[in-house]
């Protein structure tokens, strides 16, 4: 067993302090009475109260959620297909190009993706007449495109670690490919699809650069709204909004992590029991 190293523990402590102090400071100042966002003036929850009465913020949040749900769902469908194509079908024409295409949006600088998407929509609007204006639809299409890559990679790695003999057994027993898909493959990769959906959902909810390029008049998502306000400086209501968003995400991620940890433990136990039974 490795020995506990004081040096490594110090580094971890420093690193986590670096990660969390800015966030904790922001949460702390969201309860500030003072208008000055960084000078303490007593405890108050008035910024939260004002936030829930701010129609602009509520509308933006609703729009963001709608876009995130729709684009994450589309991305999960397309990404699952792409992940399967990459993991299971190794011999189709143009596969190398396809594999590059799937992973390219992951590392493409966002500004470039944003500019190119906007130009596509401008050209389409000009020569086909659709989309006539940018907004909900164009943002959703753009978000779907870059988040499907994340889903595809999750699905691909899940399929690669999955036992192919299960699918082969079903084939031998006379199942048609689409029956194998619905009866064997999809139930097995369902948890990976859920985490892919969650990742796509979070990415969409969070995106500001690509949204900024593909949005149009009247379609203000929450990050765009925050972006506009943050440029003006730090305000206590953004602190409050940030606190709400971060709490929701933390609870979600913590819960998902806990469930995955439990599932992993159960699986390990099952494997061990199966091995013991075989002896």
């Amino acid at each position: 067993m490795p020995k506990r190293s004081t040096f490594l523990i110090t580094c971890l402590a420093f690193g986590f302090a670096f990660f969390y102090i800015p966030i904790l400071s922001m949460i702390f100042f969201s309860f500030n009475k003072s208008r000055l966002a960084t000078v303490w003036g007593g405890f108050s929850v008035e910024w939260y109260y004002k936030l829930f009465k701010n129609a602009q913020v509520l509308n933006a949040a609703t729009l963001s959620l709608e876009i995130a749900v729709l684009s994450a769902t589309l991305a999960t469908i397309l990404g699952t297909m792409a992940g399967m194509a990459l993991a299971r079908f190794t011999t189709f024409r143009g596969r190398t190009f396809f594999a590059g295409l799937v992973s390219a949006p992951l590392i493409m600088p966002e500004v470039i993706t944003g500019v190119s998407m906007l130009l596509l929509f401008v050209f389409l609007g000009r020569y086909i007449g659709w989309p006539s204006e940018r907004g909900f639809t164009t943002i959703t299409l753009a978000h779907t495109t870059f988040s499907l890559s994340y889903v595809a990679i999750i699905i691909q790695s899940r399929l690669q670690s999955m036992d192919v003999s299960l699918e082969e057994a079903a084939m031998d027993l006379g199942s048609k490919p689409w029956q194998v898909l619905f009866d064997v493959t999809l139930p097995i990769i369902a948890p990976a699809m859920v985490s892919g959906w969650l990742l796509a959902f979070t990415i969409s909810l969070d995106d500001v650069v690509i949204t900024n390029f593909t949005t149009g008049p009247g379609a203000t998502t929450l990050p765009i709204l925050i972006w506009g306000k943050v440029k003006m400086g730090v305000t206590p209501d953004i602190n409050a909004l940030a606190t709400i968003i971060i709490s929701v995400v933390s609870v979600g991620v913590g819960l998902a992590g806990y469930l995955m940890y439990q599932g992993e433990k159960r699986r390990e136990r099952d494997v061990q029991m199966a091995l013991a039974a075989n002896k």
């Binding site: 506990r4 190293s5 490594l8 523990i9 580094c11 690193g15 670096f18 990660f19 969390y20 800015p22 400071s25 960084t38 397309l78 297909m81 792409a82 194509a85 299971r88 079908f89 396809f98 799937v102 992973s103 949006p105 590392i107 600088p109 966002e110 500004v111 470039i112 500019v115 130009l119 299409l141 753009a142 779907t144 495109t145 499907l148 990679i153 790695s157 690669q160 192919v164 699918e167 084939m171 048609k176 490919p177 689409w178 990742l199 979070t202 909810l205 969070d206 500001v208 650069v209 925050i226 972006w227 943050v230 440029k231 602190n239 968003i245 995400v249 933390s250 913590g254 992590g257 494997v271």
Partner: protein
């Protein structure tokens, strides 16, 4: 049983002709439908929404900016292209400086991420059981919370009235001669702020691939080296460090590539007199409405990044799995 056999024969591609096989649509539906659909649909989508836009950007980089709606025109005579934009890329110092600032910031940030992230990844990889899961979750959590809000949190910390700045000012002043002492440190709107926030935002991208790599290392090698008389530092230098090279490269590229094209961070905390190239693209596009020039800068940025992107792609296809 969990032996991941390398398989090239997907079950769906079985070339078995049954006697009296049904022809036509039913046949396709029963045999190749899923394969064809699952390849064609995302392929078509990505060509329409990723390749086409990119071809348009390349074409746009050869157009000319005009004052009209939309604000560009293509050449009317052979060879139908203008190369003025590319000439301007080298003649106007704004662009070259933008690229240099971006590369400089991204390189420093990558180095800092490595120095900070490596011991953290090692510490997590050496932890056991529930502790390891908790530490890993603590790294992933900020990665899931809004990027924009994390940048915002630093704006609050760096401002001249913040407790952080007030705490740091006397410390910095210790190292300065009395005549140069600060009343508060001018952190905001500087390259320093950009690098600091880039490191903060991208550190998980360094830690996660490093952890994935370090976790797999065989600790008995370290023990063997120690038994043979190596000191801890020698063990690290001779064994752990060389073996973790793939993790270091993957992490460094995952930080370097997006950091070079970063737009949000330089726009919010950066120095507007010395902008990074992402911000230059955005300003050309949105403020100057010079779409062709913005496209030219974007194409050149991608050319600059093509080597690191290729290395990263190759590593990805080799290892066959992502870090997320």
């Amino acid at each position: 049983m969990a032996g991941a056999l390398p398989t090239n024969t997907g079950p769906v591609t079985t070339e078995l002709e049954l006697p009296g096989a049904k022809k036509g649509f039913r046949n396709w539906l029963d045999r190749d439908a899923w394969r064809d659909i699952s390849i064609f649909t995302p392929y078509f989508w990505l060509i329409l929404f990723f390749v086409c836009p990119f071809i348009i950007v390349i074409a746009m980089s050869f157009a000319r900016s005009i004052i009209a709606q939309p604000p560009f025109e293509f050449g009317k005579d052979w060879p139908y292209v203008f190369s003025d934009n590319y000439a301007r890329l080298f003649s106007d110092s704004v662009y070259l400086r933008g690229y240099l600032t971006s590369l400089y910031n991204a390189l420093i940030a990558t180095g800092l991420c490595l120095v900070l992230g490596y011991p953290m990844a090692l510490g997590i990889a050496r932890a056991r059981g529930a502790m390891r899961s908790i530490l890993l979750l603590l790294v992933i959590l900020p990665f899931w919370t809004s990027f924009l809000l994390r940048v915002y949190a630093w704006i609050g910390l760096m401002g001249s009235n913040s407790w952080f700045n007030k705490l740091l000012t006397p410390v910095v002043n210790l190292f300065l001669p009395e005549s140069m002492e600060f009343s508060s440190i001018p952190m905001m709107n500087s390259n320093f702020a950009v690098i600091l926030v880039v490191v903060y935002s991208y550190l998980p991208f360094m830690i996660l691939p490093l952890f994935a790599n370090l976790e797999k290392l065989d600790f008995t090698l370290n023990e063997a080296a120690m038994d043979l008389g190596s000191k801890p530092f020698q063990v690290f230098r001779d064994i752990t460090l060389p073996l973790s090279m793939p993790g270091i490269i993957a992490g460094a590229l995952l930080v370097f590539i997006p950091a070079t094209g970063e737009l949000v961070i330089p726009s919010l905390v950066g120095n507007s007199a010395d902008p990074m190239i992402g911000r230059v693209i955005n300003d050309e596009f949105s403020l100057n409405r010079d779409w062709p020039m913005a496209s030219t800068i974007a194409v050149a940025l991608l050319l600059l990044l093509v080597v690191p992107i290729m290395i990263y792609n190759r590593m990805q296809s080799k290892s066959g799995e992502g870090v997320t």
